[in-house]
């Protein structure tokens, strides 16, 4: 250890705060100037911490499960009635769906229809919140030899969640559809009108840029659009809801507040990525 005289040490101590405040401005400039370096540092840190978060996930998951179980116990009766009613409705829908499926198969046979190949997917566990105060993103733990790549599309068991924007060696970050930087091309299923779903950090992203003459109807189903070649057509996203302030919003099918396992689909598309993702998605390896 270097021995310094006491006045010198005091002077150094007094100087260190202003110098470090200047250094804080320096890091801001660095973060703006070299976004790639910062992203790499973030993913390296996330890679290092992913096993710890993975281990923490067990007790946290247990506590959350217990809380949910308690809530379910309290709401047992109403939920049961609700489920009975829903079951009746779904039975009718199931009959319709089976009839439609048979009809669809018949028509496809007559048209010599070439079906889309079934997309490959892998699942990954959500281990950390990677959004901070002003962003909505989650961090996934992927195995050491994972095949997760930028631009892949994440769905939970119900619908669209977001896109992979950063990939480390053991983790990946998914920008959620609700993030303020998220712009998703969508189609309103009722009218086939295209629009853009814009995240605003709130639970329901907004709809913008729908064509003139078409107004999104309350309850209209929203699916992804193949426009811009960033998404395959027809992934379930949500339904249209008009807010009290008169804005068209999308109530997402996916439960973004309780994500635990995500499916990552590789559709092999090379369309545009959000602006903060600097690199293009890597092409799918040839098989």
């Amino acid at each position: 250890m270097i021995r310094l005289s006491i006045p010198l040490r005091q002077a150094l101590a007094r100087l260190s705060l202003p110098v470090l405040i200047a250094a804080a401005f320096g890091t801001m400039l660095l973060g703006k100037a070299d976004a790639l370096l910062v992203d790499r540092a973030r993913m390296a840190l996330a890679d290092a911490l992913a096993p710890i978060w993975g281990a923490l996930q067990e007790p946290v998951g247990a506590v959350r499960g217990a809380v949910r179980e308690g809530q379910h116990l309290l709401a047992l009766r109403e939920e049961n009635a609700l489920l009975r009613e829903e079951n009746e409705r779904l039975r009718r829908w199931q009959a319709t769906a089976l009839a439609l499926e048979a009809e669809n198969a018949l028509l496809r046979r007559q048209l010599a229809w070439v079906p889309d190949p079934a997309p490959a997917f892998r699942t990954a566990r959500v281990v950390a919140d990677a959004g901070g105060t002003y962003a909505r993103a989650v961090l996934l733990a992927a195995g050491p030899n994972h095949s997760v790549r930028k631009g892949q599309i994440a769905l939970d068991e119900r619908g669209f969640v977001g896109r992979v924007t950063e990939v480390g060696s053991r983790s990946a970050r998914v920008l959620l559809a609700t993030d303020i930087n998220s712009r998703i091309p969508i189609v309103l299923e009722g009218s086939r009108a295209r629009a853009i779903m814009v995240g605003n950090n709130a639970a329901r992203p907004r709809l913008q840029h729908w064509p003139e003459g078409v107004v999104p109807r309350e309850g209209d189903r929203v699916v992804t659009s193949a426009e811009a070649n960033a998404f395959p057509a027809g992934l379930p996203v949500g339904v249209v809801r008009w807010s009290e302030s008169g804005a068209a919003e999308v109530e997402l099918f996916a439960q973004l507040d309780r994500l635990d396992v995500l499916r990552l689909f590789d559709f092999g598309l090379s369309g545009i990525l959000p602006p903060e993702a600097v690199a293009r998605p890597e092409p799918r390896p040839r098989r």
């Binding site: 804080a24 660095l30 959350r64 962003a135």
Partner: protein, 178 residues
């Protein structure tokens, strides 16, 4: 005045003991930040978890929370929360600097008074973080998450400060006995 090193190093265990005591505030705050990143559906938890630790240890144990440690904690916060780099660093350093300046007054006050002062600090920190995020991203972020972060920090402080003051008292007793 230097509370952290009262005795001459007369043995390995004693030095180890002092090192653990000196390093505890920084390490525990960093561990809290890492744990706060576990998703519980509350955005802003990471930033809200950093503030009480830095504020408390700056006032009650400034020897263990020097500016370089605050800088490192801020950097950790920014990297963990994928926030624009430097926002957490600057916020925490300014909180540290101001708390250190008013330390002589604050250290003698009651818990409630310190909490009220902390509320002011948390509001300032949330406002500064909002402003810096707006400047660095060149778009004004929504106000609600900032308020949520403020509420989380204010709400977390009593619980964290209670635990930290217990530990601080134990450390003081050990130092007094040595």
């Amino acid at each position: 005045m230097a509370k952290g090193r009262p005795e001459p190093p007369s043995g390995f265990t004693r030095r180890l003991d002092a090192a653990v005591r000196g390093g505890f505030p920084a390490v525990s705050t960093a561990a809290l930040l890492v744990m706060a990143a576990v998703p519980v559906g509350m955005p802003g938890l990471i930033a809200a978890a950093a503030l009480p630790g830095v504020f408390f240890w700056t006032i009650f144990r400034p020897g263990s929370m020097p500016p370089p440690v605050v800088f490192a904690l801020g950097l950790l916060q920014d990297l963990l929360s994928f926030a624009p780099l430097g926002v957490g660093v600057l916020t925490l350093l300014l909180v540290h600097g101001l708390a250190l300046r008013w330390r002589d007054v604050l250290v003698k006050r009651s818990f409630l008074a310190v909490w009220l002062v902390f509320c002011g600090f948390a509001a300032g920190a949330a406002g500064l973080a909002w402003g810096l995020t707006a400047v660095l991203n060149w778009q004004s972020p929504p106000v609600m998450p900032g308020l949520l972060q403020l509420g989380l920090a204010v709400g977390l402080y009593p619980a964290l400060a209670w635990a930290m003051s217990r530990i601080h008292r134990i450390m003081r007793r050990v130092e007094g006995a040595a």
